[in-house]
Symmetry: C2
Subunit: 255 residues, 2 copies
Amino acid sequence: MAERASTGVQSVERAFELLELITNARYEVTLSELAELADLPLPTIHRLLRTLVSLGYVRQLSNRRYGLGPGLIRMGEVASRQLGAWARPHLAGVVAQLGETANMAILDGDMATYVAQVPSAHSMRMFTEVGRRVHTHTSGVGKAILAQLDDAHVRRIVGRAGMPTPTDHSIGDVDALLEDLARIRSRGYSIDDNEQERGVRCYAVAVPGMPSQTAISVSGPLTRVDEQFAARAIPILTEAAHAIAADIENVNRRS
Amino acid sequence: MAERASTGVQSVERAFELLELITNARYEVTLSELAELADLPLPTIHRLLRTLVSLGYVRQLSNRRYGLGPGLIRMGEVASRQLGAWARPHLAGVVAQLGETANMAILDGDMATYVAQVPSAHSMRMFTEVGRRVHTHTSGVGKAILAQLDDAHVRRIVGRAGMPTPTDHSIGDVDALLEDLARIRSRGYSIDDNEQERGVRCYAVAVPGMPSQTAISVSGPLTRVDEQFAARAIPILTEAAHAIAADIENVNRRS
DNA sequence: AAGTAACTTCCACCATTCGGAAACATTCGA
DNA sequence: TCGAATGTTTCCGAATGGTGGAAGTTACTT
């Protein structure tokens, strides 16, 4: 994880770190590999893994290697359902009309996390894994979310999260960011222009009235996602955002 | 969770207990509700939740309620992919031919856990949530798995897990279970006849050659799932089991 | 069969966790 | 609108639960 509270429960953090490492592994992973990746002593890892195995979130195979356990499936599905699966048809509509990858992300602590994605059918396309956390100041969705907040709140978020600059287009100081946010507010949408990743452009709009700060985006390679594309994309994105908002309003009305 | 190691890391266990409670909650849950459900002091829960929030596995909403966080999505998807999503088309074939719910389960510690399911189109149908853990001795899939193991191994598993009898059809002692397993071995398939749940019958076969002990089943109400049904179902189940095994062999060959 | 590497268990120590009390924030009712 | 009640968050010293080096066990390789 990119960020963690210094006052968190250490053993819980370590357990989840191991889970993330196993998730990132090809399929199975050995205790020694985990020890190397996590830089923790073997018995510490072993004890945490034993706990995770007994709880069903990790499995130990007959060859003594470890893999994810079935207990994570239901939690993952419920989380997905709660956070974004119902947005998928709207995102699919965006992809159908624009031909590029559509994402939805929410403000998650001081970061933005992708919670739904419908990928473009192009071979060369934006692929961002659902569940991935990114900095708000370098992502289209992140900036669309920040533009909804007041400047003091923005300062707190980026102050805590930091402002790394992954590319030479990235914004690195809060004043420049606040200027960009002002532009986003007046223009109605946000642009990530090679800021998160070279060669990638992204347009994003906020989803109004959501329980968590939310934005949706469409993104792809510079060759296809240009200003001409934007002229078509923004109304479609905006309409999808409003449709998603209407959906959640209906869900809330039903429960 | 039904079972847990007594030498597990307590704080990790508690963190996951909270995650499970949030997963089971309707959508959002308050700190006080969690305290009541978990029977732990408020500050303990708060501290664990703060850790989980900072890691992204739990979200705190603006109304101070807690919900699952997006960090669980990717782990859940990877776990699902590793454990059972690739079996889904075969299970769907079973359902298409037989019209009843098909499940796949794996041995998970001393229990069996459902890792894939394709439900019947009937209104009245077997519904078992993916991720759910059940006792081996009372479930069709569990007994199909146990029948693959030697008697000493079976004794260890049920000795540790216990042998509760949820219905008056359930097997409650290990000798009767071993006799049933002998029958299963000679007959080639397993039957859960009102043993796990009244009114439900299930036929199951083991999937050969899997990294984890695995079985698939078809189940439904007594009125439809009878011996006549079994005569049709067993060859179809057996064929699906072999097709799944062939799939995993191909996956292993590719990596 | 022997040696090596990887994994698992043990247990004394102390760092981290725990939870009661206090402080803070929100909600509800008059 | 204000005060009381309820719910949530923070603090910090005690003690317990987590840690990790050492020893034991298992699996793999030659």
